[in-house]
Subunit: 433 residues, 2 copies
Amino acid sequence: MEVCGEEGMAGREITLKNCRYVVRDHKVIEENIDILIEGRYIVDIGRGLGGGDEIDCREAIVLPGIVNAHTHAAMWIFRGLFDRGELHEWLKNVNKAEEKLTPRIVYLASKIAMLEMLSNGITAFVDMYYFPEETLKAVKETGIRAALGPVLTDEVVEEGESEKLVKSFIEKTKGFSRIKTVVNVRSLYSVSPETIREASKLTQKYDLDIHMHVSETRREIYLCKKRTGLFPVEYLNSLGVLNKRFILAHLGWVTSWELSLIKDKNASIVHCPASDMKLATAGFFPLRESLDFGINVGLGTDGAASNNSLDMFREMKVAVLLQRNNYWRTDIGERDVFRMAIENGYRILNIKGGVIEKNNVADLVLLDVKDLNLNPLSRRNVLSNIVYSANGNNVIATFVGGEIVYHREQKEAIYHSITDTLEEIQECINEIA
Amino acid sequence: MEVCGEEGMAGREITLKNCRYVVRDHKVIEENIDILIEGRYIVDIGRGLGGGDEIDCREAIVLPGIVNAHTHAAMWIFRGLFDRGELHEWLKNVNKAEEKLTPRIVYLASKIAMLEMLSNGITAFVDMYYFPEETLKAVKETGIRAALGPVLTDEVVEEGESEKLVKSFIEKTKGFSRIKTVVNVRSLYSVSPETIREASKLTQKYDLDIHMHVSETRREIYLCKKRTGLFPVEYLNSLGVLNKRFILAHLGWVTSWELSLIKDKNASIVHCPASDMKLATAGFFPLRESLDFGINVGLGTDGAASNNSLDMFREMKVAVLLQRNNYWRTDIGERDVFRMAIENGYRILNIKGGVIEKNNVADLVLLDVKDLNLNPLSRRNVLSNIVYSANGNNVIATFVGGEIVYHREQKEAIYHSITDTLEEIQECINEIA
């Protein structure tokens, strides 16, 4: 597969004509309107627009692209293999299986995961995994937007290799405005404080984000408190690493004073409700409180090994269901989670997108109004239907940076083009299981 | 639309050839095998079968039809209208809206809900709503299997009209083996004990099921305890109505001694996790305990007004997620919920189905192995993928009683055939909202 171009697209015009509904953001919805795209950007929204390739959108809902703000794309290979056991027990099985992974398998599996994410209307993802340069190769080929990068370990830091690793990754992303380097740190309990400090230093030096699993399980809280006397976020703060470039994934178990620290330092949280629930981590992530504090909270599926879906429509709904179940209240609703999955996702990526307006990147998703699960449909319930009833298979097409990177007409062709890959992946799975 | 035939099909043969996977039940999975259907029944499963219309299933997973064991089909019209408020507050708004409903609207909305359910692989549902004879008309036309019937109220019972109502409904279902009459009672708090006793008497006299919302909210428990000194299931037992024909929907709040009563009397429960969560009823339904007791627990979406989806694949997953979150354990898994949604559903209906074996009804669902969310796919994870990653739009075709009642090739045609209906429904919605 050839690499999706970055520069060649600059002048191309596309008009999405007569869009039945345009969900510009979590509040503003318009009807029967056109969207003009030029190159990578939205350049106009209004009536009577035209120019370039015109796409008839009379039977489409158009929304901004969705950001899967925490995942492990290559773990697609483990879907349906490890469905029992609480997180730490599950992790033991997964880590054993990961010993069989090769760079090539990471490349192949992450690439199919990206094709699946695109087919589900996901335009961007934040990733953490082994062999990130393999995932990077797949990102280049599939045309999806991504933030990914090396995972710093104590070994790498002790060997003095961390800066070289980060620099070399940055080098490989050059020329791709849709790809950002992040520095990954697995978790508090897997590395020394020196490694966390080093990661933070590098992100500041090279203007990058740091992405880390934090406060997933009560065991993690217990260990941190026992070892340091502090709760995990307090501890990170004590290391001086908490800042606006810090992405804290999971945070199922968190105190209100830790939320205050996150707010003060302007860090972001990524909530992963389905994965947390499936792994019985059982936390009560205080979503209403976090949003009311003004913290930027995104949404993620986590990997297909634990979710097992990569469908952010479903994730939005599960987020609402979890909060309403845990807090016995209905004060989290469709607007909150739509904003998290889309607008807040682009804030995490630090990209002008997530809202359909002039000069934002043309990352867009078209849904089919003819699907019964999106009906009855009116301006009044379009947002509700997207959050509570839509699924990834309602997607007609996905645009990233003005380019159609997925259209459902290609579905059969995509499958047939990957049958050999699926066989190769299955051989690896057979060795694991 | 013409009524789907009952008798004309008797001799027709269909062979599902070379099914990639056949999920015969929650334990047995076979590969590359044929299924022979004759008339309404499965007559053989094996290799080298043939006869009648042959359908190439090399790219399909075949599973038994799914039972939505508690819903209100016509509430499809309210999808996305009432998404806030805990159950009792929500119910006030819905009840007000229901005043605008006409028999015709119930007919139209329930019919589209059935088309949607069929497109999601649901072959049967248990219904409770106003104007049940309108829903019945739609059941006859769509070819879906259903259990539905009149809702007994104090008014009807006081006027001595209840038996007439039930008899007249039974009369209307004659000649349709796929349709069963049930006697519906809304809830403990909406009727007098006499009405519940009368409903039970009629079900015994006419060999029917009784279907009732029980123990949905803590307020309901409180009111029952205050009024009667008993918990709801204890109270039903004291009325002498609890028996194997009793279907208790929801039961979010239940004590272990009530579970014992349910077990002793051989009644069934229908769990509705997504609706309960969305309405913040917040119960801890003890699913593991109920199943270990040997109680027959089915699964339902509830109506589209509260879920808002009618997708039982998603419901299966949500059931697992809820249990794992509430109980901090992973002892509910894919086999449990698959069994609930399928095998236990057919037990509730008292129909030989829910398992792919000889002489069972040919209620079957075909899923597309080419959909990326069902991959990687092997015998090892096919059940997991169905439960944790599938959605209704993976369905290729749905068979009820040996007849193809939905094929995705009809999707566009279905939508275009109902555009007038959708407009008529939207007019009614506009009056409501």
